[in-house]
């Protein structure tokens, strides 16, 4: 699969991720395992799409952000190329318009705003403006995220209650379950 080799190559070629965000011990940044062809973000402003917050390189740029369109809610669906365990997640955003209540769902395909309340979230986070600015990964209920094929992130509201939510960066940390990519993983851990 072309995407897989690309991601691996990218991982190999890429220098250490931005120094400001410490990766939790024993975990890796799962950005390289995201299946980009399946990434979907509902209610995103087409001019400020999910890529700005999720993709390597773009997400570290202060000028690029993900913004909501018709109201403050966002629904982000992130499938992975292989099964992963999710350890922690990092959300970075402006203090005013950054996300506040975040619900995380495991392996829920075809979620929409209409049925987002039909399922209990695997975990929910309540971010303060401190969290957003200091960009420290938030630890998740690890046991709930042992077999993650896809992750759905529901941003319910934002800090100020304004109509537009903005997210500068989303980073997911965890480990892969399959061992196929161990060689690559070691390489990243060296940094």
């Amino acid at each position: 699969m072309a995407a897989a080799t690309n991601a691996a190559a990218a991982a190999a070629a890429a220098p250490a991720p931005a120094p400001a965000t410490p990766v939790p011990r024993g975990q890796v940044d799962l950005v390289d395992f995201i299946d980009w062809s399946g990434v979907e973000c509902l209610n995103q402003d087409p001019a400020h799409s999910i890529v700005n917050a999720l993709k390597q390189g773009y997400r570290d740029d202060e000028g690029l952000y993900l913004a909501s369109d018709s109201d403050e809610q966002l629904l982000i669906h992130i499938p992975f190329m292989q099964v992963v365990k999710l350890h922690s997640a990092l959300f970075k955003g402006p203090e005013e318009d950054g996300p506040k209540t975040i619900k995380l769902f495991c392996n829920k395909e075809h979620m929409g705003f209409s049925n987002v309340n039909d399922y209990p979230p695997s975990d929910s986070l309540d971010l303060s403006s401190n969290h957003l600015s200091e960009s420290k990964p938030m630890q998740l209920k690890y046991v709930k995220f042992q077999n993650v094929r896809s992750l759905t992130i529901f941003i319910e509201d934002n800090q100020s209650g304004s109509d537009v939510s903005k997210i500068l960066k989303i980073a997911l940390y965890g480990t892969t379950v399959d061992t196929t990519n161990m060689k690559d993983l070691k390489k990243i851990e060296e940094h």
């Binding site: 220098p15 209610n43 799409s49 999910i50």
Partner: protein, 585 residues
């Protein structure tokens, strides 16, 4: 088109294009002209610049300001591999990589690519790609930037810069000039067909329903052919209830087959249909596809504006675009309601509405040139060409020559037509100027004469006119009278003449026409001006041709023209004979 937006929203392997003016100074770093990013140089490591500007880049290289390493390396097909060994890109020569474009990529532009990943910020290494061939995609005063994330290696396979045939849709001057460099985005489309009772009406030929079916077929064809990954589904809004005929599929046969044997009946349920369509789109296989609903609405809209707006907002929130074809029934507030719906859905101009009134043109012909058919990118490939063909085809050919078959002939015909028009206009203008000049002289010479005398003269002129054509039939005589009156009236008696004309106009159409002409001309022109203008037969004929409902070959019109001609000459003679009289006095 916001290319940035388009590219960002296509999920995998993003390549940002930014277009910036070529910097004026050769020492200026072109990246600085991008206002959108605080630190853009981090972002951009590939450049596409117009070929003409290679000299400038060469200069920059010499100045060693930009640090461009122009090197014509052999094609490095495997960029990933080359990147791996290139940590930091300290070596300019090593850092510069050459990207060999796929055969399909052929703009007249050079591609520059930054080499070293970490040193891009310092702009240490750039390499110039081989010059690409043919088709220009970039205007000469714009540069093209293609970027990747500095941390991401550039996989050769994902060099999807491949310009498809649809490139080159230039926008206004001074704006971004881009063709669709990105491959056209995949779309999943649900088409809502209106099969309510209102579709039996025949005001669209052959019937509303059939016209709609044709349009649907056309859209399905265009959608599936513009991108192989596009899918189209079809559903009906009326009948026993909203029914999905085909879920989104790329199989055109399936789509067309489902259109047969549809029953017309009951009322359309727009709100339910749109929501069902959205549900069908939500469960699409390929999440990369953009969701779009195309609704044909030919029946009255019974829903409240508020309800529609709520639905619209919901669609927008779910990233669904909506196109509406408003045809058929035209209630007072139907267009207004639909516009409200569209404006609620619309996000960055992705949703459109088209109002199609009944008329000669088939529904599909009207749609083909609209954004519903051509898509946001201005239409690429099939859609654009089909649209162009249909647009000209539907319009009916000028001079009976199909411009597509023989463009040169059509052009020649059009040019000669324009030249002739210009010539005739020039003649008329000249004549008008001459006559006004002559009149001024006249006026100057007779300025001392009594004004009463002048009026009397005019009256006698008119009387002479009548005597001169005693044997004309009644119509022509009336015409002559009317014309004479219209010519006579300088400043006085306009109102009276108008009244008389109005009466006359009721009786005879030709007469009315002549009157209309005379009134039009009487405003600015004088008597002799009129006669001179009427002397020019070709001009008069062309005027008659341009008037609606007039056959220049009609005998009565011909008679009129002939008489006018005669009259003009007589008046000339009279003018001459009058002058000596003036002088004597």
């Amino acid at each position: 088109m916001d290319l940035m937006a388009v590219l960002r929203s296509s999920a995998s392997f993003m390549y940002y294009f930014e277009i910036a003016p070529i910097p004026l100074s050769p020492n200026c770093n072109p990246m600085n002209v991008l206002p959108r990013f605080a630190n853009p140089i981090k972002k951009w490591d590939i450049w596409l610049v117009p070929i003409d500007d290679r000299t400038r880049l060469n200069q920059e290289n010499q100045d060693d300001h930009f640090g461009v390493a122009l090197e014509e390396e052999g094609a490095a097909a495997d960029l990933v591999g080359s990147h791996d060994g290139d940590e930091g890109g300290e070596d300019v020569d090593e850092g510069g990589r050459l990207w060999s474009p796929p055969a399909s990529f052929a703009p007249t532009a050079a591609v520059l690519k930054a080499g070293g990943a970490t040193r891009v910020g310092e702009a240490t290494a750039l390499s110039l790609d081989a010059v690409l061939r043919d088709t220009c995609i970039i205007s000469s005063n714009h540069a093209f930037l293609l970027s990747t994330s500095p941390d991401t290696a550039l996989p050769s396979s994902s060099m999807t810069v491949t310009t498809d045939a649809g490139c080159g849709a230039a926008s206004e001057e001074g704006d971004v000039r881009v063709g669709s460099l990105s491959p056209a985005l995949d779309q999943a489309t649900m088409i809502c067909i209106d099969n309510s009772e209102w579709m039996r009406n025949g005001d669209y030929s052959p019937s509303r329903f059939q016209a709609q079916a044709d349009a649907v077929n056309l859209i399905c064809g265009a959608k599936t052919q513009s991108n192989p990954e596009n899918t189209v589904g079809v559903m009906t809004m009326a009948g026993k209830g909203v029914r999905v005929l085909v879920t989104p599929t790329s199989d055109l046969g399936k789509i067309l087959a489902c259109m047969h044997g549809l029953e017309v009946g009951a009322e359309a349920n727009l709100a339910a249909a749109i929501q069902v369509a959205q549900l069908a789109l939500k469960h699409r296989q390929n999440k990369r596809q953009q969701q779009r609903i195309i609704a044909f609405i030919g029946s009255p809209v019974k829903y409240d504006k508020k309800v529609l707006e709520t639905i619209g907002k919901k669609l927008k929130k779910n990233n669904v675009a909506l196109d509406i074809v408003d045809f058929g029934e035209t209630d007072d507030d139907k267009p207004e309601k639909l516009e409200a719906l569209i404006s609620a859905v619309n996000s960055s101009d992705s949703s459109h509405i088209v109002h199609v009134p009944p008329g000669e043109n088939a529904l599909s012909d009207v749609l083909i040139s609209t954004p519903i058919f051509t898509g946001e990118e201005g239409g690429s490939g099939f859609a654009a060409s089909a649209a162009a063909a249909a647009a000209t085809g539907a319009a009916g050919f000028e001079f009976d020559v199909d411009p597509n078959v023989d463009p040169e002939l059509a052009l020649a015909l059009r040019l000669s037509m324009e030249e002739e028009r210009a010539r005739q206009e020039a003649i008329a203008k000249k004549a008008a100027e001459e006559s006004s000049g002559a009149e001024n002289k006249d006026h100057a010479s007779s300025s001392n004469a009594d004004s009463v005398m002048a009026e009397a003269e005019l009256a006698s002129n008119a009387a002479d006119d009548k005597k001169d054509q005693p044997k004309e039939d009644d119509d022509a005589q009336l015409l002559q009278q009317a014309l004479a009156m219209s010519m006579e009236e300088g400043s006085s008696g306009a109102a009276v003449a108008d009244a008389a004309m109005a009466e006359a106009a009721v009786d005879d159409q030709d007469l009315a026409l002549a009157l209309q002409m005379s009134v039009q001309d009487a405003g600015g022109s004088s008597q002799s001006d009129m006669s001179k203008v009427f002397e020019d037969r070709s001009f008069v004929t062309s005027i008659l041709n341009s008037l609606p409902g007039v056959d220049p070959n009609d005998p009565s019109v011909k008679d009129l023209l002939a008489s006018l001609h005669g009259q003009g000459e007589q008046e000339k003679k009279e003018d001459k004979s009058n002058k000596p009289e003036d002088e004597k006095k």
